[in-house]
Symmetry: C2
Subunit: 406 residues, 2 copies
């Protein structure tokens, strides 16, 4: 017997038929003798509608009232899913965040779970009852509803799995797993059977948005074995696990890309101490995140060229801030380019192997793709290229690292 | 300074514009120095949608899960209304049933309020904060959400007004008050400025469905002064108060009607002890409510004719039950007639005046309207007539009792 948390996202509970299908899927796990806890999102579309209403009433809204309104979506699906399970002859009941309780901090709108009290849930497991937890919500220290931020139901599920010491946390969604790269671009992309938490974090933050980043971090922290799988097809998914669980680690697990980047270059900035703080300080104050940064060595020792990337949606704001600071920063020219893409080669195996980066540069060079910026981490090499080469680069790299499906 | 509970029904909070309008209306009361608590229903249409979903998943649903799903509608409007009040610069916060808490019994789906703990609300009044209570919902002894049955937000408002010892409970709805009769039928119907609880109960149960019956009973019990008024037009409404508050009580306050009735006659039932129990016992067991009952004196001392009314929607079921019991009841013929209407003349003044019933019979006689069944109470005379005469009877009686607007 295993104890499993099964989480169903918005498209998996989008209507009554889908909810009935979820109940059938849960019943299969129960029928083979497993203890199951269910976590549900709001019906797809519902949360957007609720958020629109809140914003329509109040732009700078009280986050406590936002939480009251938006948390209602998961409340509805928790009740309906419990009913659907009951219709199949199973014992089930809904649990709202405040009932468990799922205790969070007081940061309304993006609260963090601090503790889930599971004694009552575990006692009911013994009676064969299936708890259906409304995801995304908790109870703050002010005795008011909190929500965990968009995609927070993944985090609810992982936190519940950790608190219940579950054997596995299955995340049912509208994709059937994590792929070596985007299958819409690279036809030969393969589904990964296993991937490490670290790789998953890089894949997710690089655009393969399957799981909320925080939920993966939480799973890594508590060593919760995660599985991403489709609620529409009956196929094995991708298991996200500790490195130790993966016996034969491949050098490179996947190629990620992001078109959400934009490049800014400041030419001939006066090269004196404090110049980086002068550039990035005002951007940070305006909540503009800077990702890749390259500072060229100055030829004359007096000026330097500074290149960095920001989210494409932040580009206009970033340019405005930098233009306002021009007199202080003392640069000669500012160029902005939104037509760039970031390509990343990811794999925990590269920690112990040189040559991954070199191969990347060689392959891109052979395809005459110019590398604009490079950044590296322990398990990742990223390059910035012109956006138009995205597909070409992905296919060439996918092949070169031996990831193509045979 | 007065303390006022303002309750807004589903059409009054149907969309963001209406909710903003509600906030403006509340602000007016606050601006003249009153302490205000707000109670809101779900946006119109929302509760029906939620109920449809529950029934779509499970016909014989667990009422506890029904409550979880359906209570979400009021949760949304409570949050949005608090935000709209904040946008006007007022201090406001939403309160869900479990937060106050509004303690109810454990009868999920139609719970009764047992206690509302108001210490926290009153402390916040002192700080100028407006509580916005989600109507229709409470907390059961099982620590789960309960709902009060359809129209229960009226009851929430009256119970809150009683618990807060409020000076008045204003029920904002899509009609602008209680009329002497249905203005869609009688053009000369007048809006009543005041009406007693007892009359309101008769008016409501007779088809002038403005307030939920239970809320009026509760108001009567706790002497809560109720006002029914329009949230769309800025007009005085109808005040529902104790008899003592009405100095010049008119003889007749209003004429109500109901087309939801059907008549059943059993001819030549054996007239022996226990026959009434033999007829009405099986109907009661099947939850068929019987309203007016007439038993004719039998000519031969051996048989009797029994006529009574049931809800038109129950007619087929009632006939089936009585046909099945024919051998026991030993009647000669059963006739059923769904084309009847009940007309009621209502007024606390008639307690001390004979002649109200006589005038009714005279007026109907002059119009050649046959009276099929009569029933009376202390403040009401009701007759059953053929449905086709409904409008004629209402207009004639309205005129005869001096109710026509000049």
């Amino acid at each position: 017997m295993a104890r499993i948390v099964m989480k169903f996202g918005g498209t998996s509970v989008a209507n009554l038929d889908r909810i009935r299908h979820v109940a059938q899927r849960v019943k299969r796990e129960v029928d083979i003798g497993n203890e199951v806890a269910v976590v549900v999102s709001a019906m797809s579309g519902t949360t957007n509608q609720l958020v629109d209403w809140v914003r329509g009433i109040s732009v700078l809204h009280d986050a406590r009232e936002y939480d009251v309104v938006v948390a209602s979506g998961e409340q509805v699906t928790a009740g309906l899913t419990a009913l659907a399970l009951q219709e199949l002859g199973l014992s089930a009941r809904s649990w709202l965040g405040w009932q468990v309780p799922v205790m969070t901090d007081g940061v309304h709108g993006k609260a963090r779970i601090e503790e889930i009290q599971t004694a009552d849930l575990i006692a009911r497991f013994a009676q064969g009852q299936i708890p259906v937890l409304a995801g995304f919500q908790g109870l703050g220290p002010d005795n008011r509803i909190t929500t965990l931020g968009r995609g927070g139901s993944d985090t609810s599920a992982v936190a519940l799995a950790a608190a219940l010491n579950a054997d596995r946390c299955d995340i049912f969604t509208d994709v059937d797993g994590v792929y070596t790269t985007d299958p819409r671009i690279v036809a030969k992309a393969r589904k990964l059977h296993r991937i490490t938490y670290e790789e998953m974090l890089e894949m997710a933050s690089q655009g393969a948005k399957v799981l909320q980043t925080r939920s993966v971090e939480l799973a890594m922290k508590h060593r919760v074995r995660l599985q991403v799988l489709s609620s529409f097809e009956d196929l094995p998914g991708t298991l996200v696990v500790d490195e130790d669980e993966i016996m034969e680690q491949e050098l490179v697990s996947g190629i990620a890309y992001s078109r959400d980047e934009a490049k800014i270059t400041l030419r001939q900035v006066a090269d004196r101490p404090g110049v980086a703080a002068g550039i990035f300080g005002p951007l940070a104050e305006a909540s503009v995140n800077v990702d890749m940064i390259v500072q060229n060595i100055s030829a004359d020792g007096k000026t330097t060229d500074m290149t960095f990337t920001v989210a494409r949606t932040d580009l206009d704001r970033a340019v405005k801030i930098l233009e306002e600071a021009r007199s202080t920063l003392d640069y000669v020219a500012l160029t902005a380019d939104p037509t760039v893409a970031k390509i990343s080669v990811i794999g925990v195996g590269m920690r112990s192997h040189a040559g991954v980066a070199r191969k990347m540069f060689e392959v891109l060079g052979q395809k005459r793709i110019n590398i604009q910026v490079i950044s590296t981490s322990e398990i990742k090499v990223s390059v910035l290229i012109a956006e138009e080469y995205t597909e070409l680069a992905l296919r060439a790299l996918h092949s070169a690292y031996g990831l193509d499906a045979s």
